[in-house]
């Protein structure tokens, strides 16, 4: 496997003097599903923004050995344009890249169908539920066929059932599109369920406290959530997280 992303000595200190992150070294392989887990304010989101190129690190290097991958970002809020229909929202990356309208419509429409929103193309965000809005947000992310998908606690504001169903749909997309996902969460269970690898971070300034490979998450479903294997894995992640907090204190 070739490495897709390589962080070397990444640190971020904000203008107000707050040391948010690092230094962090991290190699991400292609088609990994990597969760960044840590307490609130540990710099997980900062790390994600640095990787996306939205935030310049104070120190260190972000490198993509195989060239800059097509990257998509999903925020905690659905972050849709309220004046635009679901289709227009999903089409945004294609529009900004100058893809012809007819083709962009087709690809955005297909992205909406893949997240289970076929038939809602013309709906406006205010007509959709929280879960559906998040689905539009994911459709927008996959519309431009990204290699790297960055997600910043995307399901934190949703109810449990919606969250589980979105987890399963996300795994399906990850599988089918051979995506590399970096997923920020503070939920041990969510990271255990989704990931092929969990990176646990310390409280601020966030450093890597543990880096654990999990069994590949292909073909996981509701049964896996109830299996002893899942419980064992979750306990391991949970213990690592507790250690990170204790060592730091």
């Amino acid at each position: 496997m070739t490495s897709l992303l390589s962080l070397t000595g990444i640190a971020k200190t904000f203008d107000n003097g707050v040391k948010a992150l690092g230094p962090v070294d991290l190699e991400v392989q292609q088609h990994e599903f990597l969760s960044l887990v840590g307490p609130s304010g540990c710099g997980k989101s900062t790390a994600l923004r640095v990787i996306a190129g939205l935030l310049a690190p104070s120190a260190g290097k972000v490198e993509f050995p195989g060239g800059n991958p097509e990257t998509a970002f999903v925020f905690q809020e659905s972050t849709l344009m309220p004046w635009a229909s679901a289709l227009d929202n999903a089409r945004l990356p294609l529009d900004l890249k100058g893809v012809a309208r007819a083709e962009a419509d087709m690809r955005a429409g297909r992205a909406l169908e893949r997240v289970g929103l076929g038939g809602f193309e013309k709906s406006f965000p205010r007509e959709l539920s929280g879960g559906m809005k998040m689905r539009v947000s994911i459709a927008r992310a996959i519309a431009a066929e990204p290699k790297l998908l960055l997600m910043d606690e995307p399901f934190a504001a949703l109810d449990e059932l919606t969250r589980q169903s979105l987890n399963d749909d996300l795994l399906k997309l990850w599988c089918e599109d051979k995506l590399t996902v970096i997923f920020v969460t503070h939920s041990v269970y969510e990271s255990t369920y989704l990931s092929s690898r969990v990176v646990v971070m310390t409280p601020r300034p966030g450093r890597i406290a543990a880096d654990m490979a999990l069994a590949a998450p292909e073909n996981r479903d509701g049964h896996y959530r109830l299996s002893p294997e899942f419980t064992t894995q979750a306990a391991k992640v949970s213990a690592a997280l507790r250690n990170a907090m204790v060592e730091h204190a």
Binding site: R49, A52, G53, L54, T71, A72, F73, F75, E77, T79, M81, P82, W83, A84, L92, P93, D95, L96, K97, F124, P125, R126, A144
Partner: protein, 261 residues
């Protein structure tokens, strides 16, 4: 309340007030130079129809020209402000000064500079000054109220400043701009009328001058007729702009949700 009733109630109230007014004026024999009855005002309107319509057209065109200039100028400068903090810092205080200085006090100066022979230009300038600021101020606010995450998303996909402005900042600012237009439309009319009052002489031929003229000759019914036309003009401007606002926002904006719920 049903839709029909929603309109019927204010209309019925209006008719009742007019009827009471008519009755009181007749019953107490109020002299026409104190308070003319609605029927007398209507008669004055019909009698002076040609000259009043001429004046209405003058006032309307001054108002519309000033409003159009305020819209174009206000939006253009707001865009400039949103693109450069330095320009905003440099110019904003002067925009405020222009706004807070009573326009009545500036009008004589503009009159001297532009000249009595171009009185309509004077009216347009004064009305523009009054109508300009709400558009500038609200549009600037709207252009700056964009969702930061959406801006990040646009940047991630390599959007140009122009794309961010056209696809993100303008739609975000649209509710603010439409709200400001409703205010400025009315202000442009007020500005046009005030300027004509200040200009004073018979050079101007708008509705305000008809009111001054009728006042001098104690044709109070004609005064009321001109006043009614001004009010109707103001209501028409406000209604058209409200309709525009509804047409552009009702599908997606929060302000429309309560109406449908």
């Amino acid at each position: 309340m049903s839709a029909a009733l929603k309109y019927a109630v204010p209309v019925a109230l209006g008719i009742a007030v007019l009827a009471l007014w008519e009755f009181l004026v007749r019953h107490y024999d109020v002299p026409v130079y104190v308070l003319p009855a609605p029927s007398a005002i209507w008669a004055a309107l019909v009698e002076n129809f040609a000259s009043l319509m001429q004046s209405l057209w003058t006032t309307l065109s001054v108002t519309l020209e000033a409003f159009a200039l305020a819209l174009i100028g206000g939006v253009a400068i707001a865009v400039l402000f949103s693109q450069s903090r330095a320009i905003e810092r440099a110019l904003y205080p002067y925009a405020v000064i222009l706004q807070v200085t009573p326009v009545v006090a500036i009008t004589p100066l503009i009159l001297i500079w532009v000249g009595f022979d171009r009185i309509n230009l004077v009216l347009v300038i004064v009305a523009f000054i009054v109508a300009f600021f709400p558009i500038l101020s609200n549009t600037t606010l709207g252009l700056k109220s964009t969702d930061h995450n959406l801006i990040d998303l646009f940047r991630l996909y390599g959007a140009s400043r122009r794309q961010i402005l056209m696809r993100l900042q303008f739609p975000t600012a649209l509710p603010n701009l439409l709200g400001a237009m409703k205010i400025s439309g009315g202000l442009a009319l007020i500005g046009a009328v005030v300027a004509e009052f200040v200009a004073g002489s018979g050079a101007a031929t708008g509705l305000a001058w008809r009111i001054v003229e009728a006042g001098h000759t104690l044709e109070i019914a004609k005064m009321f007729a001109a006043l009614a036309l001004l009010a109707a003009l103001g209501i028409a401007i406000f209604s058209i702009l409200s309709l525009l606002e509804w047409a552009l926002l009702h599908r997606w904006h929060e302000s429309a949700i309560k109406k449908t719920a």
